[in-house]
Subunit: 138 residues, 2 copies
DNA sequence: CCACGTTTGACAATGGTTCTCAACAGTGGT
DNA sequence: ACCACTGTTGAGAACCATTGTCAAACGTGG
């Protein structure tokens, strides 16, 4: 590795700050519930920007890999996204309006780890999402 | 409602025992991990039967509504199915071979209910699935 | 055996997501 | 400022799981 490569000291490939990525970030900053990629794409359009749908998907995936956004699936299996805090947590999502409460469950984390170890499973991941109807939509 | 309608006393529409539904049930009896609708469709073909893919989907949905099979989504958002016991439970699923352990989590159930009530959410449902690598695939 | 409502299957249609690939745009060096 | 080098983008095609359509086939109770 020489001084001419475009990687940072940790070896990650360079990520360029483009107009499109800024637009996606701006859109993400504009809501705090979960939205689909298409909805985010529409939001960007409403903000006067123009970013291709494929780019929205690419950017969201990248951000999710970097841990900067949460991606989860609604009851239909569609991916929905939002920017998130950096601690591991779960969500209580309103089925009707999408209002989201971020919840932590240390007890749950411990429980899943215990169960998995008990059965010899390694390299764990888990999903825990609660769907319901929020007070405003009742 | 007269004696001529084809509904049972509870008002549920009649469900007819057809060759196709028997074939799906037979296929479901043949494995105890989670399979996609397409895989189940293939299994039926291997068993010498022939059932349309749309019918497989319809039958699986019906069985899921009736609580006779579990449907959940893998990490790609695809629906996967298997016959299940009748109590509410969660799953520890091997990412590689699909081996599944059915686990109960009364503590988790209580926790989700408490969290939801605390925030005023009603009409709850929740998903909790653990993915990992089983001992055999390690 | 009949009449009626249910179920099925072949195929089209949907819809979310990813792929393709040529045009474009940051970057670091000169 | 200019260049060469790559990472990035966009339009649209391609994918693929899932659902809709509708006429033909089937199970049921009478």
């Amino acid at each position: 590795m020489t001084s001419t490569d475009h990687h940072d000291p940790e070896g990650r490939p360079a990520v360029r700050p483009t107009r499109q990525r800024r637009a996606v970030a701006a859109a993400l900053a504009g809501f705090d519930d979960f939205r689909s990629a298409q909805e985010i794409h529409d939001l960007i359009k409403e903000q006067g920007d123009s970013v291709g749908l494929a780019t929205v998907y690419r950017t969201l995936s990248t951000l999710a890999d970097a841990g900067e956004v949460d991606m989860l699936r609604n009851e239909d299996g569609e991916a929905i996204w939002r920017s998130c805090s950096d601690t591991h947590h779960h969500h209580l999502v309103c089925r009707t309006c999408g209002a989201t409460v971020e919840v932590e469950g240390p007890a749950v984390e411990r429980w899943t780890n215990a169960i998995a170890q008990e059965h010899g499973y390694a390299d764990l991941s888990h999903t825990l999402e609660i769907f319901g109807t929020c007070p405003a939509c009742r």
